[in-house]
């Protein structure tokens, strides 16, 4: 079977939405430029969706090609129109850009009313630029070690948890930005939260470590309580003090 040359997928992207209420070419251009100058980096080559759902131009026609050109000249990339009424539908279709239906209820809910034109000294055009930023937590996969970590070896899980399914020998060192789990004897050094995460913990099946550390607070083998030695234990930070308790 041959491989397909493409794949169709649904995807969500973040774009700048330009809500336009009234279009007078000269003042639109001036006001848009002023807005962009406030954060030129942010708007550079930014895709923009032009929402004409609230556009009323007192019955006069709108030159959408000019509108697109003005946006492009200021470094934006118009990708389409949204919410076109019958009044503008054919003019927008002529521009060749996409025409999307009116926005969903969710977007409408967060958009707010245009300020009263009366309060403006020059209320000719009101441009509102709205950005929607989606934040996603990116989780790095834990680092999993299946063989013993031997004397002289060092294993570091950067930005992640470290899971050792075997032992950590005397003279070996395991480090992680997150938690450390050792499903075997921990005889070497274990340093969790090396990037300063005070919530990081160390878990092991047999505590016999040379040194344990969480976010730079460390404890040497000789400071470990004898009752915990060779028992399954966890290590965590509480009020800048390392606690080692049985599991």
């Amino acid at each position: 079977m041959s491989h397909a040359d493409f794949q169709l997928k649904g995807s969500t992207i973040t774009v700048v939405v330009l809500d336009i209420y009234r279009y007078l070419p000269d003042s639109f251009s001036t006001q848009l430029e002023q807005k962009i100058l406030q954060a030129p980096q942010f708007f550079a080559n930014s895709p923009v969706l032009i929402n004409v759902g609230k556009l009323t131009n007192d019955g006069s026609p709108v030159d959408f090609r000019l509108l697109i050109k003005q946006c492009s000249e200021l470094g934006l990339q118009p990708v389409g129109f949204k919410g076109a009424s019958d009044e503008f539908a054919s003019a927008i279709a002529d521009t060749g850009l996409a025409s999307l239906p009116d926005s969903s209820a969710s977007v409408r809910a967060v958009s707010f009313e245009a300020p009263e034109p009366a309060t403006q000294a020059d209320p000719e055009v009101q441009v509102e630029i709205k950005t929607v930023v989606q934040e996603k937590v990116v989780q790095r996969p834990s680092k999993v070690i299946t063989r013993p970590v031997r004397s002289g070896q060092q294993v570091y899980a950067e930005g992640a948890d470290l899971i050792v399914l075997s032992q950590v020998s005397e003279g070996a060192e395991v480090l992680a930005d997150g938690n450390i789990h050792v499903y075997g004897a921990l005889r070497g050094r274990a340093l969790a939260g090396v990037y300063g995460d005070t919530e990081a913990r160390i878990f092991c099946q047999q505590m016999d470590a040379e040194l344990v550390s969480v976010a730079g607070n460390f404890l040497l083998s000789e400071s470990l309580d004898e009752s915990i030695r060779k028992q399954s234990a966890q290590v965590y930070l509480q009020d800048d003090t390392l606690k080692v308790i049985p599991l």
Binding site: P148, S166, Q167, S169, R187
Partner: protein, 271 residues
């Protein structure tokens, strides 16, 4: 294709060469064409233990440098059929071993032998790394004391990370633990680590336990591998280890203090 077995330990003086000689001889006695190579360039010992020191004309380094062919350098053992020895150079140092050179020699031997036993020098530097680099299996020789065990742990880490199999992401080297100079009565007295202590720390399968025995020193001085001494406990323990290396499952012997028999007790009391 020959199976390449490295005998290594990290620490010196634990019995690597004694083990190489005994295991190599044992494999040959089982009918496998075997060659033992001494990687300890500059501190050549294997030829003495094997009793062939007077027959060394060309050595491993000569072959690597192209100064002699393998057939000129390989020494046939006089006592055991199927057994051959390639001696190290006494006048050179470890820098004489190059990866390409070692590979060339091993490749050539591979077609002719069933087993290639590499007797590693002590330490974790170039000589030791060169001995283990091409290995398929490793016999880690450990004495039951803490420093030897820790050094063995270190060499196990190097087997995992710096061997050819590790670098190429192939199936890892098969590791075997061989505990030598084991003295059950000193273990009972708490002077020595027990087999289970060592197994617990190193966490690799146990190939054998060789009891401390006067026969080992005697064999070394006479230039005859101790495995040939079937009366000695050490010789018997090495024979068991060879059987296990070849896949037989047999129980471990000599782990406990020998109970004194009636006559021994009688003699002991009267002495």
């Amino acid at each position: 294709m020959a199976k390449i077995i490295v005998v290594t330990s990290g620490k010196g003086g634990v019995g690597k060469t004694t083990t190489s000689a005994a295991i190599g001889t044992g494999l040959a006695m089982q009918g496998h064409r075997t060659i033992i190579i001494d990687f300890d360039v500059g501190l050549r010992n294997l030829d003495l233990i094997m009793g062939c020191e007077r027959r060394v004309v060309y050595d491993f380094v000569n072959v690597i440098n192209g100064e002699a062919s393998l057939s000129q350098a390989v020494i046939k053992d006089k006592r055991t059929d199927n057994l051959y020895i390639l001696a190290a150079s006494q006048t050179r140092d470890k820098d004489a071993l190059t990866q390409e050179g070692v590979q060339k020699v091993l490749d050539e031997l591979s077609t002719n032998y069933d087993f290639i036993v590499c007797d590693s020098p002590a330490g974790i530097e170039k000589g030791a790394q060169m001995a283990l680099y091409f290995a398929d299996e490793a016999i880690v020789v450990t004495n039951p004391e803490v420093s030897s065990v820790r050094d063995s742990d270190r060499i196990l880490g190097i087997l995992q990370s710096k061997s050819k199999r590790a670098e190429q992401g192939k199936e890892p080297i098969k590791e075997h633990l061989l505990i030598t100079r084991y003295n059950p009565s000193r273990v009972n007295d708490g002077e020595m680590l027990s087999v289970s202590d060592v197994e617990d720390i190193l966490a690799i399968p146990l190939l054998g336990v060789i009891p401390e025995s006067e026969a080992v020193l005697k064999a070394s001085n006479q230039g005859a591998p101790v495995i040939l001494d079937s009366q000695a406990t050490a010789g018997q323990a090495y024979s068991d280890a060879v059987q296990r290396l070849l896949g037989d499952e047999i129980g471990h012997r000599f782990l406990n203090v020998e109970k004194k028999g009636f006559f021994k007790r009688l003699l002991g009391a009267s002495a």
